[in-house]
């Protein structure tokens, strides 16, 4: 049954990708991308990758299509039919590369085998020692936040850098870029509409759920990355409903920027604290008298750092996109 669901989902993924090639028009492409995200997350569920499915659910079906949509709202949904003189060249190139890659897969160990090289090296160690060394049931969180915390610090920095890059690209330097659009949104007229009322009831629950995901990450699927994205989605929903000025009143862009930096800083300072305690960078055993408790504290703190960083970077990216849209519409 597991294999059957797997095969059906993967076939649908390929069909969606083919349809994305055939379809013209960016709106249609974005809707298909959203479906593609939903499908790939379902696939991750059947592969027992709950944490990954969680992230893909929040990103692939939520934030990614929304950001694409905002871009398309600016650049228009028109897509030119490419009249290439060498239409065959890409096709040939792709077919040849694909054929070579498929020949390459034949040397790979059969799907699902426990003795494949990928499943040998360090992973059994993580699975066996997590309970004694870290003391939390979710091995993914243990590897993410403790065993490979240095990697994760790098990832958090990349996200932070991406946020900085978006600000540099889109926000004009003279200070008027920071989302002070005064023009009334053409659609924010009906504040009492059904969508408004229901969304206002739902937004607090989304925020609450984000907090649950943030702090329950040690015991079940979840953690800072997922929580950050969900938290930011709630703000984006509010912004879409009530217009950018309304969200900016809740959290001003400068505060978001400071928070993004603070998140990364929280992470790095935890590492420095463990250095000061005489252990390796990001070895949390020094944070409490008992090493396992120290690990607990360390993981909660750095997950919080990641959550703050991700949430504020995505909110800031949304601000930058929305403010740019508003400016262009004037």
């Amino acid at each position: 049954m597991e294999i059957f669901v797997d095969v059906v989902l993967l076939s649908m993924l390929v069909a969606t990708a083919v349809a994305l090639i055939l379809v013209r028009g960016l709106m249609a492409s974005i809707m298909l991308t959203s479906i593609y995200g939903l499908l790939s997350a379902s696939f991750f569920v059947t592969m027992d990758a709950v944490d990954v499915a969680f992230t893909e659910a929040a990103v692939g079906a939520g934030v990614a299509p929304l950001l694409l949509l905002m871009t398309v709202a600016l650049v228009g949904r028109r897509e030119e039919r490419t009249v290439s003189r060498h239409a065959l060249v890409p096709l040939l190139l792709v077919t040849m590369t694909g054929a070579l890659l498929i020949v390459g897969t034949l040397d790979m160990p059969p799907f699902g085998s426990a003795d494949a090289p990928a499943n040998q090296h360090v992973s059994p160690r993580y699975l066996q020692h997590t309970e004694a060394e870290i003391g939390i049931p979710n091995v993914v969180t243990a590897v993410l936040a403790s065993y490979r915390a240095y990697d994760t610090l790098g990832e958090a920095l990349v996200i932070f850098t991406a946020g900085v890059a978006v600000i540099l690209i889109l926000v004009p330097g003279d200070g008027r870029g920071t989302a002070q659009a005064t023009l009334p949104d053409p659609i924010s007229g009906d504040r009492q509409g059904i969508v408004h009322v229901v969304s206002k009831i739902l937004i607090p629950f989304v925020l609450l759920f984000a907090l649950y995901v943030q702090f329950h990450g040690d015991y079940g699927p979840g953690g800072g990355f997922q929580a950050g994205v969900i938290f930011a989605s709630a703000f984006i929903l509010y912004g879409l409903l009530c217009g950018l000025p309304a969200v900016v009143r809740v959290i001003p862009p400068t505060v978001v920027e400071v928070l993004a930096a603070l998140g990364v800083l929280l992470y790095a300072v935890t590492g420095v604290l463990s250095l000061l305690g005489g252990k390796n960078f990001l070895d949390y055993s020094v944070l409490a008298s008992d090493p396992v408790t120290g690990q607990h504290i360390g993981i909660i703190v750095i997950e919080l750092g990641v959550g703050i960083c991700v949430a504020s970077v995505i909110i800031r990216i949304y601000y930058a996109f929305a403010a740019h849209l508003d400016r262009q519409r004037v």
Partner: protein, 90 residues
């Protein structure tokens, strides 16, 4: 019986996908994506019982939340575009 439900959900998903491919306007595609989202919630909930892991339910919950947000987002942006076009005409 759970197996029947899972297979039905997959059939409905394939149907929705076919519609999303052949649709002529944006709203049909949004509707297809919305249908797909709720079916995914059900699929994940059913799978979690079929495979016996209650951890999956959190994911179904996040889908229910995110799907709503993205549908509202799409509709807002289409309304923006229409408003922009209308202003352009005037």
């Amino acid at each position: 019986m759970l197996t029947v439900t899972v297979v039905t959900i997959l059939v409905v998903m394939v149907a929705g996908l076919g519609r999303a491919f052949s649709a002529h306007n944006v709203f049909d595609r949004v509707l297809a994506a919305n249908l797909f989202g709720t079916k995914t919630v059900l699929l994940i909930a059913a799978i979690s019982y079929l495979f016996g892991s209650a951890d999956f339910l959190d994911i179904a919950l996040v889908y229910a939340l995110i799907n709503y947000i993205s549908v509202i987002g799409v509709l807002r942006v289409t309304e923006w575009q229409l408003a922009g076009r209308r202003e352009g005409r005037q």
